[in-house]
């Protein structure tokens, strides 16, 4: 095993990339959830249409 490969085991789990993805997912869930709520309350998604 080369030294560079051995060091890979000790790498921390890419915090910046993972963090960015989590934040996007959090905001995406928030925005989609609230948009769906408003669409139902305003009648754009009518009662009984959700399977």
């Amino acid at each position: 095993m080369s030294e560079s490969k051995a060091l890979r085991r000790d790498e921390p789990p890419a915090p910046s990339g993972g963090r960015a993805l989590r934040i996007n997912e959090d905001w995406a869930a928030t925005i989609i959830g609230l948009v769906l709520l408003v669409l139902v309350l305003t009648g754009v998604i009518p009662v009984g249409v959700v399977p």
């Binding site: 890979r8 085991r9 921390p12 959090d26 869930a29 928030t30 989609i32």
Partner: protein, 390 residues
């Protein structure tokens, strides 16, 4: 589960195989995902969700009068969704398609969207009333379980970073907390993989075990919900177990779990400071500020509260009777997203995770889970015995 979460178990291979091979394997898993594969994966998730709906609506009728009839009538939709997800997982793994389609198995995204919609079915007054006991329970539980797990990890001779990950995972909110702690303490990849694997392996049986125990112990829906929310690690599993018990238990379990989620940022920032100043004693370490707290704060909590405010104002304007049907449609949408999340729990589960974890982290996690179980039951009984959702 976030993208980072979903990839965590793949990194577990770093413990048992040469590092270069593990990195190549993890890279291969990621590179196997294509837009077409993710689209097909989404169709698989939607198809299993549709089958869940069909089974939930029709199995009681199909089995009425048979020996299975009574059991079938008691089965709630999370059970069908998780079991179908596990079956789909086995089929996709056997056919070698699982990694290619896994980009669509987004448990965390589905559950967070479902929880934002769930906020609409909980009156703001209930959230405000429950916030006090929920915050007290979360602070006592997180502090006690975190410190106990930290101490126990030391007794078992675990590395300080792995102790931080396991303590965060078991005391706060599972994989998300382990990810946040991993970034805070600069943990190794395989340590994150250990923690993520353990959370999932322990959460799955808890979904079925805790509702059953709550029934055996004769807990009220509110106490059962607070117990489930305070004990089960992952938010998706809390929601599944709460839904099995019923609507009131689901509401309290969600409020308790969302409160714990909100405190995750505080623990992550405290860990960052502790490791920088006390463990590593870095000369360039800076004191964390409010920006760090906001950075770690799970933003869907804001959506959950906003949905409750919007729905409460809406019902106040149109009246409860007129708005009931409309909120019912929001609940249908919520259930749809929860089913997608529960199907994804089954699809993401890895049987090999437990073997990869090694016995010492498993021992620490198992003992900490039992302590969490007992302490959460005590706190839930003390803080929520007189609480009513209605």
């Amino acid at each position: 589960m976030s993208a980072g979460d979903a990839k965590a178990p793949q990194a577990a291979a770093a413990k048992t195989v040469p590092a270069g091979e593990a990195a190549a394997s993890a890279e291969a898993g990621r590179s196997a995902q294509t837009p077409v594969g993710t689209l097909i994966g989404l169709l698989v998730v939607l198809a299993l969700a549709a089958v869940t709906r069909v089974l939930d609506k029709n199995v009681p009728g199909w089995t009425e009068g048979t020996a299975f009839g009574e059991v079938a009538a008691a089965i709630e939709y999370p059970v069908y969704a998780i079991v179908l997800g596990l079956v789909g997982n086995a089929v996709l793994t056997a056919t070698g398609l699982r990694d290619r389609l896994s980009g669509a198995f987004r448990t965390e995204f589905f559950i967070k969207t479902g929880l934002v919609l769930l906020g609409a079915s909980i009156n703001l007054a209930v959230i405000v009333t429950a916030a006090g006991p929920a915050i007290i329970q979360a602070i006592v539980l997180i502090s006690a379980v975190f410190l106990f797990t930290w101490w126990l990890g030391g007794r078992f001779g675990l590395d300080a970073r792995l102790r931080a990950l396991l303590s965060s995972a078991v005391s706060i909110c599972g994989v998300s907390a382990a990810i946040a702690a991993a970034g805070a303490v600069q943990a190794k990849r395989e340590q994150l993989a250990y923690s993520a694997s353990l959370v999932i392996v322990f959460a799955l049986p808890s979904i079925f075990l805790l509702p059953w125990l709550a029934s055996v112990l004769g807990l009220s829906p509110e106490v059962a919900g607070a117990w489930i929310g305070g004990n089960i690690d992952t938010t998706a599993a809390v929601t599944a177990a709460g839904a099995i018990v019923g609507e009131d238990a689901l509401a309290v379990a969600t409020i308790v779990k969302v409160t714990q989620n909100a405190l995750m940022g505080v623990v992550a920032v405290a860990l960052t400071a502790y490791f920088a100043f006390r463990v590593e004693r870095r000369a360039d370490a800076r004191r964390p500020g409010l920006g760090d707290l906001w950075h770690r704060f799970p933003k869907f909590v804001l959506g959950f509260i906003a949905a409750s405010i919007i729905a409460t104002l809406y019902l106040g304007a149109v009246g409860s009777d007129a708005g009931k049907e409309v909120i019912g449609t929001v609940n249908d949408l919520r259930n749809l997203f929860l089913i997608l999340a529960f199907v994804s729990i089954g699809l993401e589960f890895r049987v090999a995770s437990l073997r990869e974890a090694g016995w010492r982290p498993i021992g620490v996690f198992a003992i900490a889970t039992v302590v969490n179980l007992a302490l959460a039951l005590l706190l839930a009984s003390l803080l929520f015995s007189g609480f009513s959702v209605t």
